[in-house]
Amino acid sequence: MGSGNDSILDMYLYETNTLLEQLDGILLTAEEADTFSEDSVNEIFRIMHTIKGSSAMMEFSSLMTVAHRIEDMFFIVREKGMDVVPEQTRPELFDMLFQAVDFFRGEIEKVENEEPLSQSIDHIVSKINSLIDKIQGNPGTPDSAPAPEAEQAPAADEAADAANPDYLFGVHVFFDEGSGMENLRAFMLLNGIKDYCGDFISAPENVESDPTTSDIIADQGFLIWFRTAEERDSVIPAVQNGASVREYQPVDAAAPAPAAHEAAPAASIAAPAPAQEAPKAGSAAPAPKPASAPGQQHAKESLISVNLAKLDQLLAVVSEIVITESMVTSSPDLKGLRLDNFTKSARDLRKLTDDLQDVSMSLRMVPVSGTFQKMNRIVRDMSKKLGKKAKLTLIGEDTEVDKTIVDAIGDPIMHIVRNSMDHGLEENEADRVAAGKDPVGEVILSARHTGSEVIIEIKDDGQGVDTQAVLNKAIRQGLAAPDHDYSQKEILNFLMMPGFSTNTEVTEYSGRGVGMDVVKKNVADVGGTVTISSEWGKGMTTTLKIPLTMAIMDGMEVSVGESMFTIPINSIQSSLKVTAKDVIHDPAQGEMVKIRDNFYPIIRAKELFCMEQGCDNIEEGILMWVEAGEHSYCLFVDELMGEQQIVVKPLPNYINSFGVKNYGISGCSILGDGSISIILDVINVYAAAHNAYGAF
């Protein structure tokens, strides 16, 4: 059943990834406090148990084994309290746990990529074992808890206690490790035994009806008790020949040992409670997150996971409805008719479709906290590795953005945070103190909404960018002209040029050829921009500006000749009519106009897009003063048609293959009358004009 069907695997991956993320969060909080709270111990225990159970179900043995060992360890911690871990071994414990999380992630990635799982897990397992030894060796714990090495013996003892006083002669059976469905194997074994002797009891009971027992059996083995030693001996052949039986041993229950008494009930309580989750993972229950374990009440609402493709489909249908609605209500057939009832109903419909649209858009919105939380881990790891003390401050984690944006910004943010840790923060604490800063460096990650954009800032209080060094390097690499004066802003932009990396050394974390240019590209793919600002000695701020949703937006329709263009409302400053004498010419035949004490270049859409029709006379058309990113200019068009809410449709791949995006054509939308309007991307229009006519 290992190869299973895909939905089970999907569910497994989804669940395990969620658990690992949760685990990461718990570990980071715990490390800060240098101890585990009772809740987090329980939580880790539960997570490990679930991972172990579901991995066993999927026959991912490496994951199962490691999870099992950690579960063992936390079993001890849970029983004895956190004091069982000596002060000096705690860093080791945390490191080991983080390593384990990485190991799990690596394995999960392999599963996702359908690569074989690693076989050599001795390294990590031996680490866990040595930690368990240390914990056990601690004088603070006089009585021995069930250690993994000694697992079998105490388990047998425990079992002995559980026996009914009338049934004192038992067989303790262990099934093959990872054989799965232990409860059913046990049931089959019992059926086999019935042929020899019908009078027995089993522990756990109800194996055939209760799948949660499967984990208990896998952990502690399966016990069958008989009244007499003869009866027991008579069934031994059946046990011997039983399917998947790894080993068995006869056990005789003497008078219950008082010392082991405590351990037994504890163990049997411990196992079933979290075990409820395990079978669920495997059987791909329709509701993946009913939060069955008590430790999980917080932060988990009634969630269901939905395939993203279905959501996209829903959005597409909703978009069509919005278009069709406006086609119906503004149908030319209705012109000149007085339809009171129709108008009223149309208004209601409009309201409902607006609601529908809002709801369906919000379905795709997820908070950035997931992405942000991951950075905690990166800052922690790097600060250890590089020996720089640093803390990460998160602001506005619950800012919600579209799922595609969250996916797209994860890597860029990680890269920038790494850069800040690696190159931004000072090498030595002394340097920071000398500069009058807190010896502990700080990286601030913040997210906030402005009306139509989400702004993500990654800010460090490190040494900042040495602009002279950047310029020198840019000149060396032929990116900059040696005899040109560059502004601070222009110099910082060199950082985002392909192949530029200020650090001469390649470190483990940054400078592996993936530079800020990739960051810029990733962000640009979701329609966003990256800007860097920095002050020497004070730190550096990288700002990502990303449009909130790209599917539906408010646009201004303008016409050039017979073509319609849409300019996003949020990039429009104003529209203005000018006379020929307002236009200022520069020597390179560029045109400019002065608005409120500033000069802005004029870009004629007709010329830029090589169109045959359209106004040439500046007095007949209209100027749209637009601004996006750091560019502000006036786009000259024929006529202003009005504001409209539009549904953005991506251009066909075939069209995109001609690179129209570079000319500021970012998509299109279907207007109420069925015609197509081209959506302009204000930044790229500027860039295209810049390339076509040279600098303004």
Partner: protein, 160 residues
């Protein structure tokens, strides 16, 4: 179990009957259209629609053979003028064939759509020389009415 077997055998018998009845020749349906005096064929399974009533929206910054995009029931579809694509003289055409090439829908402007024909796969012959003008033709075939059909390779039409 025996019941299942019966059903199974019956089905196989039926399949045999079918294959006995129909000729052994495998055929493929082609849509024939004309452009600049030549007959071209597109596999019918690739053809999604034949359209005549639409308005093309001009798109800047694309090669001249891409006439623009159209709105086909909410889908944005690029239109390629096959005359210009093959380097022929342009002509005002209104007849478009919408084809699906690897999931990309593309409209092809042609002179006229002629007919559907069943072409035996074996009768499609390779193109003798690969001169540049025939680069988008992947095979040739003589039709029952004596015309020669050039099999259009839609993928090559889109990607050089």
């Amino acid at each position: 179990m025996p019941k299942t077997e019966e059903v199974l055998f019956a089905t196989e018998d039926q399949i045999d009957e079918y294959t006995d009845q129909s000729p052994e020749v495998q055929t493929e349906k082609y849509l024939i259209f004309s452009s600049d005096g030549l007959m071209y064929g597109i596999k019918a399974e690739q053809v999604k629609d034949i359209i005549t009533d639409y308005s093309i929206t001009y798109l800047p910054q694309v090669p001249s053979y891409v006439k623009g995009v159209i709105n086909l029931r909410g889908q944005i579809i690029p239109m390629v003028d096959i005359r210009l694509r093959l380097g022929k003289m342009p002509q005002d055409n209104f007849c478009g064939i919408v084809v699906d090439v690897d999931g990309n829908m593309v409209g092809i402007l042609v002179d006229m759509v002629e007919q559907m024909v069943d072409v035996p796969l074996a009768s499609i012959l390779p193109v003798p020389t690969s001169s540049t003008n025939q680069a988008m033709v992947s095979g040739m075939c003589t039709l029952p009415d004596g015309h020669t059909m050039l099999e259009l390779d839609c993928e090559l039409l889109l990607h050089d």
